[in-house]
């Protein structure tokens, strides 16, 4: 087990180095970064001064080395637009995205898993058709379109939710979400929910027909126990990885949803930084998102090993 975790940890570190490499050369590939950063009317002296200041006049390997060195301390340089360290901006926006992603994940779990269980346990039934239909809709409806419809119906007409923005309230020193998160989270959750319905359904159907389930029945234990201890317990294992992957996707922030709802999260920041050609910030966000995904994958694999003794030993 420890060896397994250690090897996965080392793998993750290598992947992150690879990401840093790509993030760095992403900028190099665009040609002379400085020309992207300054206005067309700058004089050659100004350009040279800027190059000097940003270190772009040094040889590429030296630039890369210092980029890595800084990145390891969380320093991705200053945002040109905000005149603030890029990492500070990200950490500033992080709570909004975490709030949105977590709420979306909860919504998709609460809807997706039961639907998948119902449908996988009664394949071919009315409930199966209904659940699969819901899952399919979730995966095919574009979430930005749904977001607009939701705003129209629930905010504009019914006035139940704000049309945009994030508001919070503070209780015992904790910043807590308000109903402003519901609509964006729901729009974002839809796709993940669809995936969960599909995966849960197929996991349950597969496990149901396994030999060991028949053995469990042959022992005379109650159906309910066979279902929870033998079927669900085994079906949960493949679900761990899909939940991990989906949470990573949600945490990277959704450009569409955050933009539509003016949600002050990472997706919004990314859209803005791309629009501003704020390269330091784009690099920092790209790396940060990869970091989140890699970390979640690592945690997922550990959870997997905890849940499945065949991997553990």
């Amino acid at each position: 087990m420890q060896r397994y975790i250690l090897s996965r940890l080392i793998q993750s570190v290598f992947i992150l180095f690879g990401v840093l490499f790509i993030v760095f050369f992403m900028l190099q590939m665009t040609g002379d970064p400085v020309s992207l950063l300054i206005s067309r009317h700058s004089s050659p002296e100004e350009v040279e001064a800027m190059r000097e200041e940003l270190g772009f006049n040094r040889p590429v390997p030296a630039q890369f080395a210092s980029f890595i060195g800084n990145a390891l301390t969380g320093d991705f340089g200053k945002s040109l637009r905000h005149k603030q360290p890029a990492m500070d901006l990200i950490l500033d926006r992080l709570p909004a995205t975490v709030e949105l992603a977590t709420t979306a994940l909860l919504i998709s779990l609460i809807l997706g898993i039961p639907l998948g269980l119902i449908s996988g346990s009664n394949p071919g039934s009315f409930w199966d058709v209904l659940s699969r239909g819901t899952g399919l809709l979730g995966q095919t409806i574009p979430n930005f379109w749904l977001a607009l419809i939701l705003i129209l119906v629930f905010s504009v007409h019914l006035g139940w939710f704000p049309t945009f923005g994030r508001s919070t309230w503070t209780f015992l020193g904790m910043t807590l979400p308000t109903r402003s998160v519901i609509l964006p989270a729901f729009s974002l959750a839809l796709f993940t929910m669809g995936q969960l319905v599909r995966f849960t359904r197929s996991a349950v159907m597969e496990i149901r027909s396994e030999d060991f389930v028949r053995t469990a029945y042959s022992k005379g234990i109650a159906d309910r126990k066979v279902y929870f201890r033998h079927i669900l317990r085994n079906a949960a294992i493949p679900l761990i990885s899909i939940v991990g992957v989906q949470f990573g996707y949600l945490l990277s922030g959704s450009i569409y949803i955050e933009t539509i709802f003016s949600w002050p999260g990472l997706g919004n920041l990314l859209a803005e930084s791309i629009g501003n050609r704020d390269f330091a910030l784009v690099q920092a966000i790209a790396f940060f998102s990869s970091f989140v995904v890699v970390t979640l994958n690592l945690l997922t694999d550990i959870a997997y090993a905890v849940a499945d003794p065949r991997i553990r030993y």
Binding site: Y217, G220, D223, H230, N234, D308, P309
Partner: protein, 341 residues
């Protein structure tokens, strides 16, 4: 369970199955898996069940305990009286809780491949304990202690450690022993073993057979042993039942099967056996021809296609099972023994 006075039913029927009909309603059509299976099991005996792949051996036994997936499976006829309970019951008419009471407690099942038949994410001790908790009302810790004893009883070394291990950590033979410990946990009256040694190598096979025979004697049980291997049957069964395409074609004491077979199919099966001194391990599949398509409802003897003695009659009607000798029945129009002579 209320332990039955086993002496009272010694040499009497403990299980009596009449005209069992099981069909699978699939997209391709109706599979006539069992077309009227009749047999019985006496208390204290070992009944060997042989027949080619697809002849309905497993479906017969799983029908009795309602273990088939329904749909597509549907038991469409027959009775299966079980005499090991306080009062005789027809297993086929029992509801969910009724059959759950029988499963594991009265009738234990040993499946072929213990690796896939055991839950991969539950310790072996807990899997055995589950049965004890359910039927004997033991506490989980008492059940765990009993599981360890059972593992020791079936010859697994370091039983305490093994009880805490998962199925994939066992060797093939040890895993099948654990499966056996699970099936006998509540000291059932009947054990049904569905090809329990097919996945194992020959020496381990012999050990498992020996183990079941020992347990049968010590725990005073009856055994139904499904196998492809007539050699195994010769060594351990008291009586043999031969199945073909969803029918029982012959039942007889083991010696009669080998020395006075009364069905042409049985004769062919015996012909496929290795002769004295031969070491090759023949399988039953080595008979010419293929079994009939079960999607068609049988209207004549199902074996007629392949029978080396088939007459006109055989194509007109389904032969009924007839008395061929003492405790010896076969479903054939011909007097095979005479014709062969």
């Amino acid at each position: 369970m209320v332990k039955l006075n086993r002496d009272k039913i010694r040499n009497k029927k403990i299980l009596d199955v009449h005209n069992l009909v099981t069909r699978f309603h699939t997209f391709d059509g109706v599979v006539n898996a069992l077309s009227g299976v009749t047999f019985h099991l006496n208390h204290g005996e070992t009944l060997g069940v042989v027949g080619e792949s697809g002849s309905g051996k497993s479906v017969t036994m799983m029908s009795l305990l309602h273990l088939l997936p329904a749909p597509p499976a549907k038991i469409e006829g027959g009775q299966a009286f079980y005499y090991g309970d306080e009062a005789p019951v027809d297993l086929l008419t029992l509801n969910k809780s009724g059959i759950s009471r029988i499963r594991g407690d009265h009738i234990g099942f040993i499946f072929q491949d213990a690796l896939s038949a055991l839950n991969p994410v539950m310790t072996v001790g807990r899997q055995i304990g589950e049965t004890l908790v359910e039927h004997l009302g033991m506490s989980p810790s008492a059940a765990m202690k009993r599981s360890v004893e059972l593992l020791a009883y079936v010859g697994i070394p370091e039983p305490k450690k093994r009880a805490a291990a998962y199925p994939h950590q066992f060797s093939g033979g040890m895993r099948q022993r654990a499966m056996i410990a699970l099936s006998i946990a509540c000291e059932p009256n009947i054990i049904i073993a569905d090809e329990p040694t097919t996945a194992l190598d020959v020496t381990v096979q012999a050990q498992i057979i020996e183990l079941v025979q020992r347990l049968k004697k010590e725990m005073d049980m009856s055994v139904i042993w499904i196998t492809h291997d007539l050699g195994v049957v010769a060594g351990m069964a008291d009586r043999v039942m031969v199945m073909y395409a969803g029918h029982v074609v012959e039942t007889a004491p083991v010696d009669d099967i080998f020395y006075r077979p009364s069905h042409p199919y049985t004769i062919k099966l015996l012909g496929a056996l290795p002769k004295m001194g031969e070491t090759v391990h023949h399988r039953l599949e080595s008979i010419d021809g293929v079994p009939p398509d079960l999607l068609e409802k049988p209207v004549h003897c199902q074996y007629a296609w392949r029978c080396h003695m088939a007459r006109e009659r055989c194509w007109e009607d389904i032969p009924k099972s007839r008395q061929m000798g003492d405790r010896h029945r076969a479903a054939c129009f011909l007097d095979v023994a005479k014709e062969e002579a």
